[in-house]
Amino acid sequence: MDISSVFFALVAIVAVVSALLVVTCKNPINSALALVLTFFCLATFYAMLNAPFMAAIQIIVYAGAIMVLVIFTIMLLNIRVDENKKHSHQLALGSVIGIIVLMMTGLVLTRGKVSQPVGDITNELINSQGHTELIGKVMFTDFLLPFEVTSILLLVAIVGAVILAKRKLS
């Protein structure tokens, strides 16, 4: 068990615990903060996977943009604590289904057969050319169209957010 494995285990534990906190915290703010922690953990994993660009935008987009937005909304709406009333059946049923999903996914992963490496991207290449550049090249060649589509997607999101959230002028 080398050091990276230990590190992986530690971060993984943190990620799982924080994810659990997201689900269990009564206060949405706490959930949000726990989620941010999870995002950080994932960013760590990306870095470990030699994908520094992904780690960066993980933090920038998720932790930086999305979660700020979420927290802002929570504050705006002044939501403090989650419900007092208990919905035991909801909890139970949800948990059961979730756990089944977990077990099944595990089974799927262990039974499945992953493809052999097909690409030519190696650690050496990433180290030599730089991750961002490599990503950029692929994105603007093979995946140019999806990339362009994201622009419209974001435009729609903006316009939509404006329409939906605007208060009635009266």
Partner: protein, 100 residues
């Protein structure tokens, strides 16, 4: 490759936790956060696969998922606000006018 499997298992765990959250939580924003958690689990899978396969398609995919997540966040949160404006609540329990 052990390494890949641990990532995959981890992402599966996160995905399931996210699912549980969606199924159990009542606050719409928390539900939304749980969905984000699910998406992140998927992202982890993608990146892990991408690394294993040695091509960057998976990472590109993650990039797009993030964009979509951002867009969804914008629209979703705006929607919650609109809902809150009308109902003074963002409990999904309260979204029950229409049924049957």
């Amino acid at each position: 490759m052990d390494n890949l499997n641990s990532y995959l298992i981890l992402s599966a765990v996160l995905f399931s936790i996210g699912t549980i959250g969606v199924l159990t939580r009542k606050n719409a924003i928390v539900v939304f956060m749980c969905i984000e958690l699910m998406l992140n689990a998927v992202n982890l899978t993608f990146v892990a696969f991408s690394r294993h396969l040695g091509n960057l398609d998976g990472q590109i995919f993650v990039f797009f998922i993030m964009t979509v997540a951002a867009a969804e966040a914008a629209v979703g949160l705006a929607m919650f606000i609109a809902f809150f404006n009308n109902r003074e609540s963002i409990d999904i329990d309260d979204a029950n006018i229409m049924k049957w």
